[in-house]
Amino acid sequence: MAESKPILINKKGMITIPVDLRVKYRMLPGSRVSIIEVNGHLEIIPIVDIAELRKHDAEDFEKSIEESNKQELALEHDE
């Protein structure tokens, strides 16, 4: 896991993400990210084009949904 040296936050609250991390996470100039608080810490989460996120077929999602629905109904009936 990569770790940066301490980074100074300037008056405007801006920080510089170290170059090795920018390369590793494909943070190119002009790309956008969100900073989101998750469970008590901050996460930098990229915003990418939806086309880049499409890695699975609809059938894979259908199976996953059916499996979860069965599990949920089984849990309810066990109660």
């Binding site: 990418v48 996120l53 699975h56 077929d57 894979d60 996953s64 309810e76």
Partner: protein, 141 residues
């Protein structure tokens, strides 16, 4: 007047699929251009997160969720008393067939005059006056 579309878990996952149907792509394009008002509830987004997480890991799920919500102007509905009561009644009436999220989604659509965009096959087959009032657009996986 802009029409209101409420999207369920299946439709959102179809949009994130490699073989996304043209009909879903067109719906999402219209939401992006604000020709249609897109509505969601947080539990639906949590389900979508789960399915991406199961298939592709937690980091992909975070990026997909963030990218979807930052690039499409969805209204995330409030879970107020009206919704809780309407969804609760539906769950009481159809506990064998509808999940909690299904009940919240249907109640939200009825309370807010949204068209329900869903992959759920059984909705209109379930007896009951309430469900017959629901305006539904179905999609297939």
């Amino acid at each position: 007047m802009t029409s209101k579309a409420y999207l369920d878990t299946g439709v959102l996952t179809l949009f994130l699929a490699r073989n996304c149907p043209l009909k879903v792509q067109e719906l999402m394009d219209n939401i992006k251009k604000a020709k249609i008002e897109g509505h969601l509830l947080a539990p639906v987004l949590t389900e979508v997160f789960l399915h991406i997480c199961k298939l592709d890991g937690i980091d992909s799920a975070k990026i997909s969720m963030n990218s979807l919500l930052k690039q499409y102007p969805f209204k995330i509905g409030e879970q107020d008393t009206s919704l809780i009561i309407s969804a609760g009644i539906l769950k009481c009436q159809h506990r064998e067939t509808l999940s909690y999220v299904d009940c919240m989604s249907i109640a939200y659509c009825l309370n807010n005059n949204c068209v329900f965009h869903t992959t759920e096959k059984k909705i209109k087959k379930i007896p009951g006056n309430t469900l017959q009032k629901l305006d539904v657009v179905k999609y297939k996986f």
